[in-house]
Symmetry: C2
Protein backbone atom coordinates (compact mmCIF):
# COMPACT_ATOMS: atom_id res chain seq x y z
CA UNK A 1 0.00 0.00 0.00
CA UNK A 2 1.39 3.43 -0.91
CA UNK A 3 1.68 6.12 1.74
CA UNK A 4 -0.99 8.01 -0.20
CA UNK A 5 -3.42 5.11 0.24
CA UNK A 6 -2.38 4.63 3.84
CA UNK A 7 -3.38 8.23 4.63
CA UNK A 8 -7.02 7.21 4.61
CA UNK A 9 -6.58 4.44 7.18
CA UNK A 10 -7.67 5.17 10.76
CA UNK A 11 -5.36 5.62 13.73
CA UNK A 12 -5.66 2.73 16.21
CA UNK A 13 -5.97 3.59 19.89
CA UNK A 14 -5.56 0.73 22.36
CA UNK A 15 -6.42 0.69 26.04
CA UNK A 16 -7.41 -1.87 28.66
CA UNK A 17 -10.79 -0.19 29.10
CA UNK A 18 -12.42 3.24 28.99
CA UNK A 19 -9.58 5.35 30.44
CA UNK A 20 -7.88 5.68 27.04
CA UNK A 21 -10.86 7.69 25.84
CA UNK A 22 -9.24 10.71 27.52
CA UNK A 23 -6.36 10.17 25.08
CA UNK A 24 -8.71 9.66 22.12
CA UNK A 25 -10.48 12.90 23.03
CA UNK A 26 -7.26 14.89 22.83
CA UNK A 27 -6.18 13.10 19.63
CA UNK A 28 -9.49 14.03 17.98
CA UNK A 29 -8.98 17.65 18.99
CA UNK A 30 -5.42 17.78 17.57
CA UNK A 31 -6.19 15.74 14.46
CA UNK A 32 -9.75 16.63 13.42
CA UNK A 33 -9.36 15.16 9.90
CA UNK A 34 -8.33 11.72 11.12
CA UNK A 35 -10.46 8.63 11.65
CA UNK A 36 -9.94 6.45 14.70
CA UNK A 37 -10.62 2.92 15.80
CA UNK A 38 -10.50 2.53 19.57
CA UNK A 39 -10.08 -0.88 21.21
CA UNK A 40 -10.83 -1.36 24.92
CA UNK A 41 -9.81 -4.81 26.20
CA UNK A 42 -12.65 -4.75 28.70
CA UNK A 43 -12.72 -8.55 29.18
CA UNK A 44 -9.34 -8.42 30.87
CA UNK A 45 -9.21 -4.93 32.42
CA UNK A 46 -7.50 -3.57 34.43
CA UNK A 47 -3.97 -4.28 33.25
CA UNK A 48 -2.55 -2.37 36.22
CA UNK A 49 -2.92 -5.29 38.61
CA UNK A 50 -1.54 -7.99 36.32
CA UNK A 51 2.01 -9.35 35.94
CA UNK A 52 4.35 -8.11 33.19
CA UNK A 53 4.13 -11.40 31.32
CA UNK A 54 0.32 -11.27 31.35
CA UNK A 55 0.21 -7.61 30.26
CA UNK A 56 2.45 -8.38 27.28
CA UNK A 57 0.36 -11.43 26.38
CA UNK A 58 -2.91 -9.49 26.58
CA UNK A 59 -1.50 -6.47 24.69
CA UNK A 60 -0.19 -8.56 21.78
CA UNK A 61 -3.51 -10.36 21.50
CA UNK A 62 -5.61 -7.22 21.63
CA UNK A 63 -3.57 -5.17 19.16
CA UNK A 64 -3.70 -8.05 16.68
CA UNK A 65 -7.37 -7.11 16.25
CA UNK A 66 -6.42 -3.53 15.42
CA UNK A 67 -3.76 -4.60 12.95
CA UNK A 68 -6.24 -6.85 11.18
CA UNK A 69 -8.68 -3.97 11.11
CA UNK A 70 -6.17 -1.90 9.13
CA UNK A 71 -4.58 1.09 10.84
CA UNK A 72 -1.77 3.46 9.88
CA UNK A 73 -0.41 4.10 13.39
CA UNK A 74 -1.04 2.63 16.84
CA UNK A 75 -1.35 4.72 20.00
CA UNK A 76 -0.97 2.70 23.20
CA UNK A 77 -3.12 4.82 25.51
CA UNK A 78 -2.80 2.52 28.52
CA UNK A 79 0.07 3.55 30.81
CA UNK A 80 0.64 0.00 32.02
CA UNK A 81 0.85 -1.41 28.49
CA UNK A 82 3.03 1.55 27.40
CA UNK A 83 5.33 0.89 30.31
CA UNK A 84 5.63 -2.87 29.93
CA UNK A 85 4.62 -4.00 26.43
CA UNK A 86 5.83 -1.23 24.08
CA UNK A 87 9.00 -2.97 22.88
CA UNK A 88 7.14 -6.23 22.23
CA UNK A 89 4.38 -4.35 20.40
CA UNK A 90 6.85 -2.44 18.18
CA UNK A 91 8.68 -5.65 17.35
CA UNK A 92 5.50 -7.56 16.50
CA UNK A 93 3.74 -4.81 14.59
CA UNK A 94 6.65 -3.32 12.62
CA UNK A 95 6.79 -1.41 10.34
CA UNK A 96 3.63 0.09 11.90
CA UNK A 97 4.53 3.16 14.02
CA UNK A 98 3.62 2.47 17.67
CA UNK A 99 3.47 5.38 20.12
CA UNK A 100 3.01 4.99 23.88
CA UNK A 101 1.98 7.65 26.39
CA UNK A 102 5.02 7.43 28.67
CA UNK A 103 7.79 8.93 26.56
CA UNK A 104 5.79 11.97 25.36
CA UNK A 105 4.73 12.69 28.96
CA UNK A 106 8.27 12.28 30.28
CA UNK A 107 9.71 14.46 27.51
CA UNK A 108 7.17 17.24 28.12
CA UNK A 109 7.91 17.25 31.85
CA UNK A 110 11.66 17.49 31.20
CA UNK A 111 11.10 20.46 28.89
CA UNK A 112 8.61 22.30 31.10
CA UNK A 113 10.23 21.89 34.51
CA UNK A 114 12.56 24.74 35.42
CA UNK A 115 14.20 23.25 38.50
CA UNK A 116 14.13 19.58 37.37
CA UNK A 117 12.07 18.45 40.37
CA UNK A 118 9.27 16.39 38.86
CA UNK A 119 6.46 14.44 40.49
CA UNK A 120 4.80 11.61 38.54
CA UNK A 121 1.46 10.29 39.78
CA UNK A 122 0.15 6.99 38.43
CA UNK A 123 -1.27 3.62 39.48
CA UNK A 124 0.84 1.54 41.87
CA UNK A 125 1.80 -0.78 39.00
CA UNK A 126 3.05 2.00 36.74
CA UNK A 127 5.02 3.49 39.64
CA UNK A 128 6.45 0.09 40.50
CA UNK A 129 7.39 -0.64 36.86
CA UNK A 130 9.45 2.56 36.96
CA UNK A 131 9.04 3.51 33.27
CA UNK A 132 8.40 7.23 33.82
CA UNK A 133 11.26 7.50 36.29
CA UNK A 134 13.75 5.82 33.90
CA UNK A 135 12.68 7.90 30.90
CA UNK A 136 12.87 11.21 32.76
CA UNK A 137 16.33 10.33 34.11
CA UNK A 138 17.49 9.40 30.59
CA UNK A 139 16.17 12.57 28.99
CA UNK A 140 17.28 14.85 31.80
CA UNK A 141 19.94 13.26 34.02
CA UNK A 142 19.90 16.20 36.47
CA UNK A 143 16.21 15.69 37.24
CA UNK A 144 14.88 14.51 40.60
CA UNK A 145 11.81 12.32 40.11
CA UNK A 146 9.31 11.42 42.80
CA UNK A 147 6.78 8.81 41.68
CA UNK A 148 3.66 8.45 43.80
CA UNK A 149 0.96 5.78 43.48
CA UNK A 150 -2.53 7.29 43.60
CA UNK A 151 -4.61 4.17 42.98
CA UNK A 152 -7.86 5.53 44.42
CA UNK A 153 -8.03 8.22 41.73
CA UNK A 154 -9.08 5.50 39.25
CA UNK A 155 -12.30 4.41 41.01
CA UNK A 156 -12.99 8.05 41.96
CA UNK A 157 -12.97 8.94 38.25
CA UNK A 158 -15.11 5.92 37.40
CA UNK A 159 -17.58 6.74 40.18
CA UNK A 160 -17.72 10.32 38.83
CA UNK A 161 -16.58 11.77 42.18
CA UNK A 162 -13.92 14.03 40.66
CA UNK A 163 -14.70 17.15 42.67
CA UNK A 164 -15.96 17.86 46.18
CA UNK A 165 -14.79 17.08 49.71
CA UNK A 166 -14.05 13.35 49.23
CA UNK A 167 -11.95 13.85 46.08
CA UNK A 168 -10.14 16.73 47.81
CA UNK A 169 -9.48 14.69 50.96
CA UNK A 170 -8.01 11.84 48.92
CA UNK A 171 -5.92 14.19 46.75
CA UNK A 172 -4.69 15.88 49.92
CA UNK A 173 -3.74 12.55 51.49
CA UNK A 174 -1.75 11.57 48.41
CA UNK A 175 -0.18 14.89 47.40
CA UNK A 176 -0.08 17.57 50.08
CA UNK A 177 3.10 16.37 51.76
CA UNK A 178 5.02 16.26 48.46
CA UNK A 179 4.22 19.92 47.85
CA UNK A 180 4.69 21.18 51.45
CA UNK A 181 8.47 21.23 51.45
CA UNK A 182 11.09 23.99 51.66
CA UNK A 183 10.86 26.17 48.56
CA UNK A 184 14.20 25.05 47.08
CA UNK A 185 13.07 21.42 47.12
CA UNK A 186 9.56 22.19 45.83
CA UNK A 187 8.68 20.26 42.66
CA UNK A 188 7.48 22.58 39.90
CA UNK A 189 5.97 19.95 37.60
CA UNK A 190 3.44 17.15 38.02
CA UNK A 191 2.88 14.43 35.39
CA UNK A 192 -0.58 12.84 35.19
CA UNK A 193 0.68 9.31 34.51
CA UNK A 194 -2.67 7.53 34.21
CA UNK A 195 -5.43 7.97 31.65
CA UNK A 196 -8.03 8.51 34.39
CA UNK A 197 -6.25 11.35 36.13
CA UNK A 198 -7.05 14.27 33.78
CA UNK A 199 -10.62 14.04 35.11
CA UNK A 200 -9.29 15.03 38.54
CA UNK A 201 -7.06 17.88 37.33
CA UNK A 202 -9.18 20.64 38.86
CA UNK A 203 -9.15 18.98 42.29
CA UNK A 204 -5.43 18.22 42.06
CA UNK A 205 -4.72 21.87 41.18
CA UNK A 206 -6.74 22.98 44.19
CA UNK A 207 -4.57 20.83 46.48
CA UNK A 208 -1.11 21.52 45.02
CA UNK A 209 -1.64 25.13 43.92
CA UNK A 210 -1.65 27.00 40.63
CA UNK A 211 2.12 27.49 40.42
CA UNK A 212 2.80 23.80 39.59
CA UNK A 213 2.84 22.90 35.88
CA UNK A 214 0.61 19.92 35.21
CA UNK A 215 1.62 17.70 32.28
CA UNK A 216 -1.19 15.72 30.70
CA UNK A 217 0.50 12.80 28.91
CA UNK A 218 -2.41 12.67 26.46
CA UNK A 219 -1.65 16.17 25.12
CA UNK A 220 2.06 15.40 24.83
CA UNK A 221 1.22 12.15 23.03
CA UNK A 222 -1.14 13.85 20.56
CA UNK A 223 1.64 16.23 19.53
CA UNK A 224 4.04 13.34 18.87
CA UNK A 225 1.38 11.48 16.89
CA UNK A 226 0.83 14.54 14.72
CA UNK A 227 4.58 15.00 14.17
CA UNK A 228 5.01 11.31 13.28
CA UNK A 229 2.16 11.36 10.75
CA UNK A 230 3.62 14.50 9.17
CA UNK A 231 7.13 13.03 8.95
CA UNK A 232 5.84 9.84 7.33
CA UNK A 233 3.42 11.71 5.01
CA UNK A 234 0.51 9.89 6.61
CA UNK A 235 -1.69 12.85 7.58
CA UNK A 236 -5.14 12.65 6.08
CA UNK A 237 -5.05 15.81 3.97
CA UNK A 238 -8.50 15.50 2.50
CA UNK A 239 -11.06 17.27 4.63
CA UNK A 240 -13.59 14.47 4.92
CA UNK A 241 -15.85 13.74 7.89
CA UNK A 242 -13.70 11.73 10.28
CA UNK A 243 -15.09 8.46 11.63
CA UNK A 244 -14.59 6.87 15.01
CA UNK A 245 -15.32 3.23 15.76
CA UNK A 246 -15.20 1.53 19.14
CA UNK A 247 -14.31 -2.12 19.70
CA UNK A 248 -14.55 -3.84 23.07
CA UNK A 249 -13.79 -7.39 24.19
CA UNK A 250 -16.65 -7.45 26.72
CA UNK A 251 -19.93 -5.69 27.58
CA UNK A 252 -20.58 -2.85 25.08
CA UNK A 253 -23.36 -1.54 27.37
CA UNK A 254 -21.02 -1.03 30.30
CA UNK A 255 -18.55 0.72 27.98
CA UNK A 256 -21.28 3.08 26.78
CA UNK A 257 -22.37 3.82 30.38
CA UNK A 258 -18.91 4.97 31.45
CA UNK A 259 -17.59 6.40 28.17
CA UNK A 260 -19.25 9.80 28.38
CA UNK A 261 -17.22 11.10 31.31
CA UNK A 262 -13.92 10.07 29.70
CA UNK A 263 -14.67 11.06 26.11
CA UNK A 264 -16.71 14.15 26.98
CA UNK A 265 -19.54 13.12 24.66
CA UNK A 266 -22.02 10.24 24.75
CA UNK A 267 -21.18 7.08 22.81
CA UNK A 268 -24.14 5.30 21.23
CA UNK A 269 -24.41 1.52 21.59
CA UNK A 270 -24.54 1.33 17.76
CA UNK A 271 -21.01 2.72 17.57
CA UNK A 272 -19.59 -0.09 19.74
CA UNK A 273 -18.73 -3.54 18.43
CA UNK A 274 -18.04 -6.60 20.58
CA UNK A 275 -14.98 -8.55 19.40
CA UNK A 276 -13.91 -11.97 20.57
CA UNK A 277 -11.33 -11.91 23.34
CA UNK A 278 -10.31 -15.48 22.68
CA UNK A 279 -8.49 -14.30 19.55
CA UNK A 280 -4.98 -15.18 20.62
CA UNK A 281 -5.33 -17.32 23.75
CA UNK B 1 -14.29 -42.82 46.49
CA UNK B 2 -16.15 -43.54 49.75
CA UNK B 3 -17.39 -40.67 51.91
CA UNK B 4 -14.84 -41.82 54.51
CA UNK B 5 -12.01 -41.29 52.02
CA UNK B 6 -13.52 -38.02 50.83
CA UNK B 7 -13.40 -36.61 54.38
CA UNK B 8 -9.68 -36.07 54.01
CA UNK B 9 -9.99 -33.99 50.86
CA UNK B 10 -9.68 -30.22 51.19
CA UNK B 11 -12.50 -27.71 50.77
CA UNK B 12 -12.07 -25.59 47.63
CA UNK B 13 -12.53 -21.83 47.95
CA UNK B 14 -12.80 -19.86 44.71
CA UNK B 15 -12.59 -16.11 44.25
CA UNK B 16 -11.56 -13.71 41.51
CA UNK B 17 -8.69 -12.41 43.65
CA UNK B 18 -7.76 -11.78 47.29
CA UNK B 19 -11.17 -10.67 48.63
CA UNK B 20 -12.31 -14.25 49.20
CA UNK B 21 -9.60 -14.59 51.85
CA UNK B 22 -12.05 -12.90 54.26
CA UNK B 23 -14.32 -15.91 53.62
CA UNK B 24 -11.45 -18.40 53.98
CA UNK B 25 -10.51 -16.77 57.29
CA UNK B 26 -14.00 -17.35 58.73
CA UNK B 27 -14.15 -20.90 57.28
CA UNK B 28 -10.86 -21.74 59.00
CA UNK B 29 -12.23 -20.43 62.29
CA UNK B 30 -15.44 -22.48 62.04
CA UNK B 31 -13.79 -25.60 60.65
CA UNK B 32 -10.35 -25.81 62.27
CA UNK B 33 -9.84 -29.48 61.32
CA UNK B 34 -10.37 -28.94 57.60
CA UNK B 35 -7.80 -28.39 54.88
CA UNK B 36 -8.40 -25.77 52.21
CA UNK B 37 -7.25 -24.99 48.71
CA UNK B 38 -7.90 -21.41 47.73
CA UNK B 39 -7.91 -20.30 44.08
CA UNK B 40 -7.70 -16.60 43.18
CA UNK B 41 -8.24 -15.99 39.44
CA UNK B 42 -5.93 -12.99 39.58
CA UNK B 43 -5.22 -12.99 35.82
CA UNK B 44 -8.79 -11.97 35.11
CA UNK B 45 -9.85 -10.06 38.25
CA UNK B 46 -12.09 -8.27 38.96
CA UNK B 47 -15.17 -10.20 37.88
CA UNK B 48 -17.41 -7.35 39.04
CA UNK B 49 -16.89 -5.29 35.88
CA UNK B 50 -17.32 -8.12 33.35
CA UNK B 51 -20.43 -9.35 31.51
CA UNK B 52 -22.47 -12.32 32.77
CA UNK B 53 -21.30 -14.48 29.89
CA UNK B 54 -17.65 -13.72 30.64
CA UNK B 55 -18.07 -14.30 34.40
CA UNK B 56 -19.59 -17.74 33.73
CA UNK B 57 -16.83 -18.58 31.25
CA UNK B 58 -14.08 -17.52 33.66
CA UNK B 59 -15.71 -19.26 36.65
CA UNK B 60 -16.08 -22.59 34.85
CA UNK B 61 -12.48 -22.43 33.70
CA UNK B 62 -11.08 -21.53 37.10
CA UNK B 63 -13.04 -24.07 39.11
CA UNK B 64 -11.93 -26.83 36.72
CA UNK B 65 -8.50 -26.41 38.33
CA UNK B 66 -9.97 -26.96 41.79
CA UNK B 67 -11.91 -30.02 40.67
CA UNK B 68 -8.78 -31.53 39.17
CA UNK B 69 -6.97 -30.78 42.40
CA UNK B 70 -9.46 -32.93 44.30
CA UNK B 71 -11.90 -31.23 46.69
CA UNK B 72 -14.93 -32.42 48.65
CA UNK B 73 -16.94 -29.17 48.51
CA UNK B 74 -16.62 -25.87 46.66
CA UNK B 75 -17.25 -22.48 48.25
CA UNK B 76 -17.76 -19.68 45.72
CA UNK B 77 -16.47 -16.77 47.80
CA UNK B 78 -16.84 -14.19 45.03
CA UNK B 79 -20.20 -12.37 45.20
CA UNK B 80 -20.26 -11.74 41.46
CA UNK B 81 -19.60 -15.40 40.59
CA UNK B 82 -22.10 -16.52 43.28
CA UNK B 83 -24.68 -14.20 41.80
CA UNK B 84 -24.16 -15.10 38.14
CA UNK B 85 -22.40 -18.45 37.76
CA UNK B 86 -23.71 -20.62 40.61
CA UNK B 87 -26.24 -22.61 38.57
CA UNK B 88 -23.70 -23.28 35.81
CA UNK B 89 -21.08 -24.31 38.38
CA UNK B 90 -23.48 -26.72 40.17
CA UNK B 91 -24.49 -28.26 36.86
CA UNK B 92 -20.90 -28.70 35.67
CA UNK B 93 -19.40 -29.90 38.94
CA UNK B 94 -22.18 -32.19 40.21
CA UNK B 95 -22.30 -34.22 42.41
CA UNK B 96 -19.80 -31.89 44.16
CA UNK B 97 -21.62 -29.64 46.66
CA UNK B 98 -21.23 -25.99 45.58
CA UNK B 99 -22.06 -23.22 48.07
CA UNK B 100 -22.15 -19.52 47.18
CA UNK B 101 -22.10 -16.55 49.55
CA UNK B 102 -25.38 -14.95 48.46
CA UNK B 103 -28.00 -17.37 49.79
CA UNK B 104 -26.45 -17.78 53.28
CA UNK B 105 -26.18 -13.98 53.59
CA UNK B 106 -29.73 -13.42 52.39
CA UNK B 107 -31.08 -16.14 54.71
CA UNK B 108 -29.27 -14.72 57.75
CA UNK B 109 -30.61 -11.22 57.04
CA UNK B 110 -34.18 -12.54 56.76
CA UNK B 111 -33.82 -14.31 60.11
CA UNK B 112 -32.13 -11.47 61.95
CA UNK B 113 -34.20 -8.51 60.74
CA UNK B 114 -37.15 -7.75 62.97
CA UNK B 115 -38.99 -5.24 60.76
CA UNK B 116 -38.01 -6.77 57.38
CA UNK B 117 -36.30 -3.59 56.15
CA UNK B 118 -32.94 -4.78 54.87
CA UNK B 119 -30.11 -2.88 53.19
CA UNK B 120 -27.63 -4.79 51.02
CA UNK B 121 -24.36 -3.12 50.10
CA UNK B 122 -22.23 -4.58 47.33
CA UNK B 123 -20.38 -3.69 44.12
CA UNK B 124 -22.42 -2.04 41.36
CA UNK B 125 -22.40 -5.31 39.41
CA UNK B 126 -23.77 -7.40 42.26
CA UNK B 127 -26.45 -4.78 42.91
CA UNK B 128 -27.30 -4.64 39.22
CA UNK B 129 -27.45 -8.46 38.93
CA UNK B 130 -30.08 -8.36 41.72
CA UNK B 131 -29.25 -11.75 43.26
CA UNK B 132 -29.46 -10.64 46.89
CA UNK B 133 -32.71 -8.76 46.29
CA UNK B 134 -34.36 -11.78 44.59
CA UNK B 135 -33.23 -14.23 47.28
CA UNK B 136 -34.38 -12.05 50.17
CA UNK B 137 -37.79 -11.51 48.54
CA UNK B 138 -38.13 -15.28 47.97
CA UNK B 139 -37.19 -16.19 51.54
CA UNK B 140 -39.20 -13.39 53.14
CA UNK B 141 -41.84 -11.95 50.79
CA UNK B 142 -42.78 -9.19 53.29
CA UNK B 143 -39.23 -7.78 53.28
CA UNK B 144 -38.30 -4.40 51.82
CA UNK B 145 -34.81 -4.55 50.28
CA UNK B 146 -32.69 -1.56 49.39
CA UNK B 147 -29.54 -2.48 47.46
CA UNK B 148 -26.79 0.13 47.30
CA UNK B 149 -23.64 0.02 45.22
CA UNK B 150 -20.56 1.01 47.25
CA UNK B 151 -17.85 0.41 44.66
CA UNK B 152 -15.21 2.62 46.31
CA UNK B 153 -15.13 0.38 49.39
CA UNK B 154 -13.17 -2.17 47.31
CA UNK B 155 -10.13 0.02 46.51
CA UNK B 156 -10.33 1.55 50.01
CA UNK B 157 -9.90 -1.95 51.47
CA UNK B 158 -7.11 -2.76 49.01
CA UNK B 159 -5.34 0.53 49.81
CA UNK B 160 -5.67 -0.28 53.53
CA UNK B 161 -7.64 2.93 54.21
CA UNK B 162 -10.38 1.21 56.19
CA UNK B 163 -10.59 3.71 59.04
CA UNK B 164 -10.09 7.47 59.40
CA UNK B 165 -11.67 10.55 57.87
CA UNK B 166 -11.58 9.48 54.20
CA UNK B 167 -13.17 6.08 54.83
CA UNK B 168 -15.77 7.76 57.06
CA UNK B 169 -16.55 10.45 54.46
CA UNK B 170 -17.07 7.82 51.76
CA UNK B 171 -19.17 5.59 54.05
CA UNK B 172 -21.24 8.65 54.99
CA UNK B 173 -21.77 9.58 51.32
CA UNK B 174 -22.98 6.07 50.53
CA UNK B 175 -24.97 5.19 53.64
CA UNK B 176 -26.05 8.10 55.81
CA UNK B 177 -29.17 8.97 53.86
CA UNK B 178 -30.44 5.38 53.95
CA UNK B 179 -30.29 5.40 57.73
CA UNK B 180 -31.57 8.96 58.30
CA UNK B 181 -35.24 8.24 57.71
CA UNK B 182 -38.34 8.26 59.93
CA UNK B 183 -38.04 5.59 62.58
CA UNK B 184 -40.81 3.37 61.16
CA UNK B 185 -38.97 3.15 57.81
CA UNK B 186 -35.54 2.67 59.35
CA UNK B 187 -33.79 -0.48 58.13
CA UNK B 188 -32.60 -2.64 61.03
CA UNK B 189 -30.25 -4.92 59.09
CA UNK B 190 -27.30 -4.36 56.72
CA UNK B 191 -25.80 -7.15 54.59
CA UNK B 192 -22.11 -6.87 53.66
CA UNK B 193 -22.51 -8.20 50.13
CA UNK B 194 -18.90 -8.06 49.00
CA UNK B 195 -15.88 -9.95 50.29
CA UNK B 196 -13.94 -6.71 50.83
CA UNK B 197 -16.51 -5.01 53.02
CA UNK B 198 -15.90 -6.79 56.37
CA UNK B 199 -12.63 -4.82 56.54
CA UNK B 200 -14.69 -1.63 56.74
CA UNK B 201 -17.20 -2.91 59.32
CA UNK B 202 -15.96 -0.64 62.11
CA UNK B 203 -16.24 2.48 59.95
CA UNK B 204 -19.65 1.42 58.62
CA UNK B 205 -20.90 0.89 62.19
CA UNK B 206 -19.66 4.36 63.15
CA UNK B 207 -21.73 5.89 60.32
CA UNK B 208 -24.96 3.89 60.63
CA UNK B 209 -24.96 3.38 64.40
CA UNK B 210 -24.77 0.39 66.75
CA UNK B 211 -28.47 -0.49 66.62
CA UNK B 212 -28.27 -1.87 63.05
CA UNK B 213 -27.50 -5.60 62.77
CA UNK B 214 -24.64 -6.19 60.34
CA UNK B 215 -24.70 -9.52 58.47
CA UNK B 216 -21.33 -10.76 57.28
CA UNK B 217 -22.10 -13.17 54.42
CA UNK B 218 -18.85 -15.02 55.18
CA UNK B 219 -20.04 -16.03 58.66
CA UNK B 220 -23.43 -17.13 57.33
CA UNK B 221 -21.68 -19.12 54.58
CA UNK B 222 -19.31 -20.87 57.01
CA UNK B 223 -22.29 -22.11 59.02
CA UNK B 224 -23.95 -23.56 55.90
CA UNK B 225 -20.68 -25.20 54.85
CA UNK B 226 -20.38 -26.85 58.26
CA UNK B 227 -24.00 -28.07 58.15
CA UNK B 228 -23.55 -29.45 54.63
CA UNK B 229 -20.39 -31.35 55.55
CA UNK B 230 -22.13 -32.80 58.60
CA UNK B 231 -25.21 -33.86 56.61
CA UNK B 232 -23.07 -35.58 53.98
CA UNK B 233 -20.70 -37.15 56.56
CA UNK B 234 -17.81 -35.25 55.04
CA UNK B 235 -16.41 -33.50 58.13
CA UNK B 236 -12.79 -34.34 58.77
CA UNK B 237 -13.16 -36.02 62.16
CA UNK B 238 -9.48 -36.78 62.68
CA UNK B 239 -7.71 -34.01 64.49
CA UNK B 240 -4.77 -33.59 62.14
CA UNK B 241 -2.96 -30.35 61.35
CA UNK B 242 -5.05 -28.70 58.66
CA UNK B 243 -3.30 -27.53 55.51
CA UNK B 244 -4.03 -24.51 53.37
CA UNK B 245 -2.73 -24.08 49.82
CA UNK B 246 -3.09 -21.04 47.63
CA UNK B 247 -3.33 -21.11 43.84
CA UNK B 248 -3.31 -17.98 41.66
CA UNK B 249 -3.56 -17.50 37.91
CA UNK B 250 -1.20 -14.48 37.94
CA UNK B 251 1.48 -12.79 40.08
CA UNK B 252 1.97 -14.74 43.33
CA UNK B 253 4.01 -11.84 44.72
CA UNK B 254 1.16 -9.36 44.37
CA UNK B 255 -1.17 -11.88 46.03
CA UNK B 256 1.20 -12.21 48.97
CA UNK B 257 1.51 -8.43 49.31
CA UNK B 258 -2.25 -7.91 49.69
CA UNK B 259 -3.24 -11.18 51.36
CA UNK B 260 -2.34 -10.24 54.92
CA UNK B 261 -5.04 -7.63 55.40
CA UNK B 262 -7.76 -9.95 54.07
CA UNK B 263 -6.63 -13.19 55.73
CA UNK B 264 -5.39 -11.57 58.94
CA UNK B 265 -2.07 -13.41 58.76
CA UNK B 266 0.86 -13.19 56.38
CA UNK B 267 0.99 -15.63 53.45
CA UNK B 268 4.46 -16.80 52.47
CA UNK B 269 5.41 -16.87 48.77
CA UNK B 270 6.20 -20.59 49.21
CA UNK B 271 2.55 -21.29 50.00
CA UNK B 272 1.37 -19.79 46.68
CA UNK B 273 1.44 -21.66 43.39
CA UNK B 274 1.00 -20.08 39.96
CA UNK B 275 -1.38 -22.06 37.74
CA UNK B 276 -1.93 -21.57 34.04
CA UNK B 277 -4.88 -19.33 33.22
CA UNK B 278 -5.08 -20.63 29.68
CA UNK B 279 -6.56 -23.86 31.00
CA UNK B 280 -9.95 -23.59 29.38
CA UNK B 281 -9.70 -20.78 26.87
Amino acid sequence: MSSHEKQHLPIGVFDSGVGGLTVLRVLQKYLPNESFVYLGDTARLPYGTKSEQTVIHYSLGATEILRNFGIKLLVVACSTASSIALIALRETLKPLPVIGVLEPGARAACELSRNGKIVVIATETTVHAGGYQRLIQQIRPDATVIAKGCSLFVPLAEEGWVEGPIAEAIATAYLQQLFSVESESLPDCLVLGCTHFPLLEKTIKKVIGDQITIVDSAVATAKIVKDTLEEQSLLNGKIVPSMTRFLVTDSPQRFVNTAIQFLGRPVSIDEVELVDYNFKL
